[in-house]
C-alpha cells in the first residue's frame, strides 16, 4: 500500500507514520509538509491512500483535494483537520472524500480509515476477477 501523508506539523506526521508502519509494516509512505509538495508527490508516486491535512501552507488542503480529485477519482483520500464544524466536513464531502479525521484523533480511527480502503480494494479486485472470468467463458 502506497500512502501519502500531507501534514505540516512534525509530530502529526510522526504519529500518522508510526500508526501506519506499526499496523501495515509493508506500507510505503511518502510525506509532504505543504500543498505544493503534496501535489508533486501525488503525481510522481501515485498513492493508493492519502491522509491530507486541511490547514497546510502554500495551498489549502481543500484546494489540494479538488486538484487531486480532478486527476484521480479513484484515489482514497482522508481529510485531517482540527476544525470539526459540520460546515468544514460538508465542504470536504462536496468535493469528494473517503474519510474525515478530527484532531486529536485516536489510533483506532486511522486504522478504521485504512481498513475501509483495504476492504474496498479487495471488493474491486474480486469484481475484476469475476468480470475476467466471464469474458474467458464467453470466448470459450
Amino acid at each position: 500500500m502506497n500512502v501519502l501523508i500531507v501534514e505540516d506539523d512534525e509530530q502529526g506526521r510522526r504519529f500518522l507514520c508510526g500508526v501506519i508502519e506499526h499496523h501495515w509494516p509493508d506500507a510505503r509512505i511518502v510525506q509532504a509538509v505543504d500543498g505544493k509538495t503534496a501535489l508533486k508527490l501525488f503525481a510522481q508516486h501515485p498513492p493508493q491512500v492519502t491522509l491530507l491535512d486541511i490547514e497546510i501552507p502554500k495551498l489549502n488542503g481543500l484546494d489540494v483535494l479538488e486538484i487531486m480529485r480532478a486527476f484521480r477519482r479513484d484515489s482514497f483520500i482522508v481529510m485531517v483537520s482540527g476544525n470539526s464544524s459540520m460546515e468544514n466536513v460538508k465542504t470536504a464531502t462536496d468535493i469528494g472524500v473517503d474519510g474525515f479525521l478530527v484532531k486529536p484523533f485516536e489510533e483506532r480511527k486511522v486504522i478504521d480509515a485504512l481498513q475501509r480502503y483495504t476492504r474496498r480494494h479487495e471488493q474491486q479486485a474480486k469484481k475484476v476477477a469475476v468480470v475476467g472470468q466471464g469474458k474467458s467463458l464467453s470466448l470459450d
Partner: protein, 251 residues
C-alpha cells in the same frame, strides 16, 4: 456541554447482563441526557455526552465508539443530517435514534440500526443496547496491539515534551505582541498534537485558549487571560509555562 466517563463500573446488582464498550450519547434535552448517561454508566459503559450536533459529529470523527445514540431533534442540525454527513465520510459505527415518533426496535430512517422512544425506561434502554452492542469493544486490540504501547510512541511523546518550552515561548511572544490570530493558531496546533499523544489535559486547555482567542478582541480579555492561566497550569506539570514569573513563583 460535554463530559467523558471512560472508567468502567460494576454492573447494576441483580442484572444478568454486564454491558461493555464506549457510547457517544448526543441528547437535545440536558436532563434526559444526564439520566441516560447515569443509566449507561451504571450498566458498565464508558459514556461521552454531548448536547448538540456539531459536538456529536466532531466526537464521532475523533473517537471509535461501539454505539452512537443520536437524538433526532438535536440542534443546530437535526440528527438525520448528522448521520448523512457521517455516512458521506465513511463513518460506520452503529447508531441508535432517540425519537418521540417511533417505538423500540423501529428504525426511523436509513442510517440507524434501531430507534428508542425518548424517556424510554431503564429496561427498554438496556435491552436495546444489549442487542446492538458488539461482543468486542471498539477499544479492544488484537494482533499487533497498539502503536501507543511501543517504545517509538514513548519516544515521540518525549520529543514533544522536550519541545514544549519552545511552544510556550511562541505563545508568550504572540501574547506579548497582542497577536490573537497567532495565539489561536499555536493553540490549535497544541490541541491536535497533545491530544494525539494522549496529553488530554494540555489538549483541552489549548482548545479552550484557541476558542477564547478566536472569540476575543484583545489578549487582555478575561476569557483569554483565564484560558492562558489554565494552559499555564497544564504546562507547569511539564516544567514550563507561558508566564515565567508565575512559573518561577510556583516552583
Amino acid at each position: 456541554m460535554e463530559r467523558t466517563e471512560a472508567d468502567s463500573h460494576e454492573p447494576i446488582p441483580g442484572r444478568d447482563r454486564a454491558l461493555s464498550g464506549r457510547v457517544l450519547l448526543a441528547c437535545a434535552d440536558a436532563a434526559e441526557g444526564r439520566r441516560l448517561e447515569g443509566l449507561l454508566t451504571a450498566a458498565g459503559l464508558g459514556v461521552t455526552l454531548t448536547g448538540d450536533t456539531e459536538a456529536a459529529v466532531g466526537r464521532a470523527l475523533q473517537t471509535a465508539f461501539d454505539l452512537i445514540l443520536l437524538d433526532l431533534e438535536l440542534a443546530p442540525a437535526d440528527g438525520t443530517s448528522a448521520v448523512e454527513l457521517l455516512e458521506a465520510v465513511g463513518h460506520d459505527d452503529p447508531r441508535l435514534a432517540l425519537t418521540t415518533d417511533a417505538g423500540p426496535g423501529v428504525a426511523p430512517d436509513e442510517g440507524f440500526a434501531a430507534a428508542l422512544p425518548r424517556n424510554a425506561d431503564a429496561d427498554q434502554v438496556l435491552d436495546c443496547l444489549a442487542r446492538l452492542l458488539p461482543a468486542a469493544s471498539a477499544d479492544g486490540w488484537r494482533g499487533s496491539g497498539r502503536w501507543r504501547d511501543t517504545e517509538a510512541f514513548a519516544e515521540l511523546v518525549a520529543d514533544y515534551l522536550g519541545e514544549l518550552p519552545d511552544v510556550a515561548g511562541e505563545l508568550r511572544r504572540a501574547r506579548d505582541q497582542g497577536d490573537l490570530e497567532a495565539v489561536a493558531g499555536i493553540a490549535h496546533r497544541v490541541k491536535g498534537t497533545a491530544g494525539n499523544l494522549g496529553l488530554d489535559g494540555l489538549s483541552t486547555a489549548a482548545a479552550t485558549l484557541q476558542q477564547a482567542a478566536r472569540g476575543g478582541s484583545a489578549v487582555d480579555d478575561l476569557p483569554v487571560r483565564s484560558a492562558f492561566a489554565a494552559l499555564d497550569a497544564e504546562l507547569a506539570a511539564f516544567g514550563t509555562g507561558t508566564d515565567p514569573m508565575a512559573y518561577e513563583a510556583g516552583r
